[in-house]
Symmetry: C2
Subunit: 325 residues, 2 copies
Amino acid sequence: MPSEFELIGRYFARPTPSADLGVGDDAALLRLAAGHQCVVSTDMLVEGTHFVAGTDPRRLGWKTIAVSISDLAAMAARPRWATLAVSLPDADDAWLEGFAGGVHACCEAHGVELVGGDTTRGPRNLCATVFGEVPTGQAVTRAGARDGDDIWISGQPGRAALALARLLDGTSADGTLPAEFVEALEAPRPRLALGLALRGLASAMLDVSDGLLGDLAHILECSGVGARLVDGWLPLRALVDCGVDPQRAREALLGGGDDYELLFCAPVAARSRVASVGASVDTPLHRIGTVLAEAGRLELALDDGRCRPLQPIGFRHFTGDKIDN
Amino acid sequence: MPSEFELIGRYFARPTPSADLGVGDDAALLRLAAGHQCVVSTDMLVEGTHFVAGTDPRRLGWKTIAVSISDLAAMAARPRWATLAVSLPDADDAWLEGFAGGVHACCEAHGVELVGGDTTRGPRNLCATVFGEVPTGQAVTRAGARDGDDIWISGQPGRAALALARLLDGTSADGTLPAEFVEALEAPRPRLALGLALRGLASAMLDVSDGLLGDLAHILECSGVGARLVDGWLPLRALVDCGVDPQRAREALLGGGDDYELLFCAPVAARSRVASVGASVDTPLHRIGTVLAEAGRLELALDDGRCRPLQPIGFRHFTGDKIDN
């Protein structure tokens, strides 16, 4: 079997022209642009928790990098470099070739260079750290939402959750889901162009990894505000049109994680510019609600004019279950 | 059971005054000193591969951070921040309290702030990424060793390997090893003060994680040189004085990993300054050989004047065995 160093050389070491020193020393050396902050995020994907055994290795490699790139996109920051630590039960060449191919494809698609990492034996575990930069003071955090701001969501949340449910149930109760649903789960596309274009427009932003409501609750908590979502504005149509039961579609949209869509707030005065940004980066944007002054208040406005309170829904790794709405 | 967010809040989130934004958003925001490069290293520790089940959690927390700090020390770089991703089979409060205590103790001892991470359920796996800074162009890489340079090793390599052997064998064939041997294995002390003090003196440097000979081979390969070690100069005495068989002591010293001592080269003209540095940071330094012009040549000078060729020895995770000398 190949050694750790042979594995790294064969599958992971690639030219890193934008790094002063890449793979192959004790540490990588990187030079950030003047007047920029360094932006860092790390994510760990575990077999049996985040993905099932037998998941296509190329998609898994893509996703391993994509989820951290998505975090930088949600800060309106440009990702530039990544490190990757992997624990693998064996050195399966076919698996490694697919996995590394997905890693490099995702890096190249987003202007990221793999500058270091660690390769070891153990239960399958994939940990990426992505570094990038943002002009000092221009990152969009979770803390800037203000009373009256619009609440926006990109793309089509809910697809990954519906694909996962089908994968876990082995059922086809939802009919045959389009391939994009499975791709949303297995090879999510970070909304990088959108995140960068929202710099200076969004007041608060994050990427939806734990579920729209659960992640919205993070913005509300960090910003000290509340929110009213409007049921009629939720992008349910595309899910229902695929044969998904409407109530199940709503649950997937509000509670399902792993789509990595961007959830953000922006002042009403920026509404037309936000819409233009969506068009310019070819990403559907849905305005789904309004920020309220009352901290922690979270409600859904129904078609008949009534409002009902909402509880955050999100996946919790250690409680192991969903908190129902 | 607590949620992921409660775990992070209770055990891992600490004030991060040197970061513009720490734990709790999509990514951390850091500001590097002007005229510095960003230095990054990541390491993954896996239960059953790098440590045995039941290892003291506080020491494990310390080591998780220490091994990456050691990488930065070996670049003559100052560590400043860390992210930590952990996969745990359960949310055991006593274990988490010990582990997090060790993480924070190691961070504080080395001026590092924990600025982000990820917490998930799965087989026990600990992945730290440490980043810091070095004045541009002043990092010490593996590539600068030159013909005639002295070869130096810090402290006492071999202790961790002897402690590990005793742990795995369950034997006490080596007599009762001092507590420092077990501490070298379970809670290694990164040679940070030494690494920083060698900036401008060392021509090439790394930390010994895979074994002195195996890691020396990395310097030789990166620098395009060879090396002659002198048997009589190897710091065997402290091992033998603890009752370890001399041949076993030599094998542990040359082939044992995990001591995180610094192995470095420096010009002969810097010899007295190197010795002064060792004294000033209270770290024993041993001059153990000389760099040779011939690329890839690696030999041991014996007391009788003969030289015998050496093969690199090091632990290989995927071959699973040692290459004997």
